[in-house]
């Protein structure tokens, strides 16, 4: 533990106050407000909220539409995470070989990090649009093969692809950093032991990458629950027939379109719980970091 500190504690107080105020105003208060709404119901004709206990939660949990949004969120989370993590892992492990062109590959794989979700959404919506470009051509050759505007499964596939594409860069950065933090001498020892490139990837690099892998996995799942809004809103607006109505999107709709604050707040709380639970899972894995010798 450290021993060297400054003594003037009032300066410390001054330093942390701004952030505490902001965090209280925009974080703790809203969170407690959500709690309040989740356990109360607004009276139709004014007159404040009445305490309804777990009624809001009961209503949500018995709502098929809610469960379908949970299910869709899971499909989206697993689909986009599997694609994004898998692709980033393969790219990172091969970029890490540092063959000629290594720097160019690296930049080429990092830049998509900069792109806004709605921009990704819009670009992918155009690319997969049945009424323009390549997919229109495909439809002419095989009539009615592709129509995400009507077909829910295709719409889901489309948003999963867009979500995965957006996430690859982020994962790539972490995997590459993880690979580069493996001491060089371990790889060399592997080479002396007669393991060739692919064998070393399997026996040395991948196992040592495990902590990064779990971290990235959990971050991706968490992000897919929260970050998906921009993609869904620009690509499908939750449709067709609610086929891509993920949890975040439903909360937004119920709260701001349907003005059902209590329902939206209860849903928010469930989502928060889920995200916090996942974060804790992640910390458990991070703790198991491998000790390099």
């Amino acid at each position: 533990m450290r021993r060297a500190y400054f003594k003037n504690n009032w300066i410390a107080a001054l330093m942390v106050t701004p952030q505490l105020i902001v965090v209280f105003t925009f974080f703790y208060f809203p969170a407690s407000q959500a709690m309040y709404w989740a356990f109360t119901l607004e009276q139709p004709w004014g007159g404040g909220n009445t305490w309804v206990g777990l009624d809001n939660f009961r209503a949500i949990l018995s709502d098929d539409l809610y469960w379908s949004s949970v299910w869709l969120s899971i499909v989206f989370a697993l689909g986009s995470t599997a694609l994004a993590v898998g692709m980033a892992l393969i790219l990172a492990i091969f970029v890490d070989r540092q063959l000629a062109g290594y720097k160019a590959y690296k930049i080429g794989m990092i830049w998509p990090y900069a792109i806004a979700a709605p921009a990704v959404g819009l670009a992918f919506r155009f690319i997969f649009s049945p009424g323009a470009g390549i997919m229109m051509f495909v439809n002419q050759v095989f009539p009615d093969l592709w129509n995400p505007v009507e077909n829910g499964t295709q719409a889901m596939a489309m948003v999963i692809l867009a979500g995965a594409w957006k996430q690859v860069a982020y994962n790539f950065i972490f995997f590459l950093a993880g690979l580069q933090s493996i001491p060089r001498s371990l790889i060399e020892a592997g080479a002396m032991d007669g393991a060739r490139t692919l064998r070393r990837m399997r026996d040395i690099q991948l196992p040592l990458l495990a902590p990064t892998f779990f971290f990235v996995l959990v971050i991706n799942i968490t992000d897919s629950f929260t970050d998906s809004f921009g993609i869904i809103d620009t690509m499908t607006a939750g449709g067709p027939s609610r086929a891509t109505n993920l949890m975040v999107y439903k909360i937004f709709n119920d709260g701001f379109q349907g003005l059902d604050y209590s329902g939206a707040a209860a849903q928010s709380i469930i989502l928060m719980g889920l995200v916090i639970a996942l974060t804790f899972v992640q910390f458990r894995y991070i703790e198991r970091k491998v000790h390099y010798t």
Binding site: P183, S185, E188, A189, A191, M192, D193, P207, A210, T293
Partner: protein, 368 residues
């Protein structure tokens, strides 16, 4: 068991050359130690033998086969790394047996050999642990075991003991020598610790700034350093250097203040008039009353070493050290005579730094 030759090997990173043409022959079963200061290119040379670095030019052969383009595992070398490079996710047994596993040896044979090697280095109790759960010395043994199990033709060590404490270092040094005497693999051992080098080596290679300064047995290198650099680098406390000019007439080196240090006649005759650096080892000097030695110097202070005492003298504008087991009492500021033992003068050319000797015909004969 193998013989290694290194012929005019150079290594450049980008534009910068860090090894400038090295020649070295290592005989079968020999234990060679490469000694040199930090950054002189020892590791680079070793890693070129291992195949972890490519050579920029020149040839490396192992058993008369040029290995320049062979991959590390095809060269029959094993290496012990400075930080051990143990695989943190494998147990000790898995670490030791990994090379055999890659080679496709069946599990039963593998386990038997791991067991045997572990016994020989005293690791049997730790086979199921991970490297993170071992002490520094135990990790060191695992690294050794991992190299031994492959029965390599060549053993390479890159400062394997530098992470250990002093006592353990001496102990592991003996262990390494014991293992070498047992299996007799050709070994190349890199270190910057001269004591380690002296005690381990059959022959020492002293490197400086990317070139080999001298190759020889520890005795040779100590008694006949080939250059000012080697003289100053080997030996502790370090060699004293004085400048002067050789006079054949006086058969001595004349120092700036007129003092004369006598030389054997043939040596003085061979280099009459040459400006020179004289190397004097502190342990080969003796203290005598003022006026009785080769020259006088003013006493400054002494360091107690237990078995002996190290005296520091002011001579002209430099400091001179004398190691004496007799520990005579001396007063500060008082001049003392310094006597030079027979055969204790090392002469080096002032311009090139190379050792001067009397040449008779083509055969070099050391007369000092």
């Amino acid at each position: 068991m193998a013989q290694i030759s290194i012929r005019n090997v150079r290594k450049s990173y980008a534009k910068q050359e860090v090894v400038h043409g090295v020649d070295l022959e290592v005989a079968t079963g020999e234990f060679i130690v490469i000694l040199g200061p930090s950054g002189c290119g020892k590791s680079t040379l070793l890693r070129m033998i291992a195949g972890l670095e490519s050579v920029t030019s020149g040839d490396i052969t192992i058993d008369n086969r040029v290995v320049n383009d062979l991959e590390p595992h095809q060269r029959g070398c094993a290496m012990v790394f400075q930080n051990y490079a143990l695989y943190p996710h494998m147990t000790v047994a898995e670490n030791i047996g990994y090379a055999l596993k890659v080679a496709g040896l069946p599990k039963v044979d593998r386990l038997a050999r791991v067991q045997a090697v572990a016994t020989s280095v005293g690791l049997t109790e730790f086979l199921e642990r991970r490297p993170g759960q071992l002490s520094g010395g135990q990790r060191q043994r695992v690294a050794m075991a991992r190299a031994i199990i492959r029965e390599p033709k060549v053993f390479l060590f890159d400062e394997p003991l530098s992470n250990l404490d002093a006592k353990l270092r001496v102990q592991m040094r003996h262990e390494i020598r014991r293992i070498h005497n047992h299996i007799h693999a050709t070994s190349v051992f890199v270190t910057h610790d001269q004591q380690e080098g002296m005690t381990l080596a059959d022959r020492l290679v002293v490197m400086n700034k990317g070139v080999i300064e001298q190759v020889g047995t520890p005795e040779e290198i100590y008694h006949r350093p080939a250059s000012v650099y080697v003289g100053g680098f080997i030996g502790s406390p370090a060699m004293n250097f004085l400048s002067g000019q050789i006079s054949a007439q006086d058969s001595a080196v004349v120092l700036a203040n007129g003092a004369k240090i006598p030389l054997p006649v043939p040596l003085a005759a061979a280099h009459d008039g040459q400006f020179t650096q004289i190397g004097l080892r502190p342990e080969e000097l003796a203290l005598v009353p003022a006026g009785k030695g080769a020259f006088d110097a003013a006493f400054e202070f002494a360091e107690e070493l237990g078995a002996a005492r190290l005296y520091h003298f002011q001579f002209e504008d430099l400091m001179l050290t004398v190691l004496s087991a007799d520990k005579p009492a001396v007063e500060k500021g008082k001049p003392m005579g310094i006597r030079i033992g027979a055969g204790a003068v090392h002469l080096f050319a002032a311009d090139t730094g190379k050792r001067l000797s009397a040449k008779v015909g083509s055969r070099e004969r050391e007369l000092v």
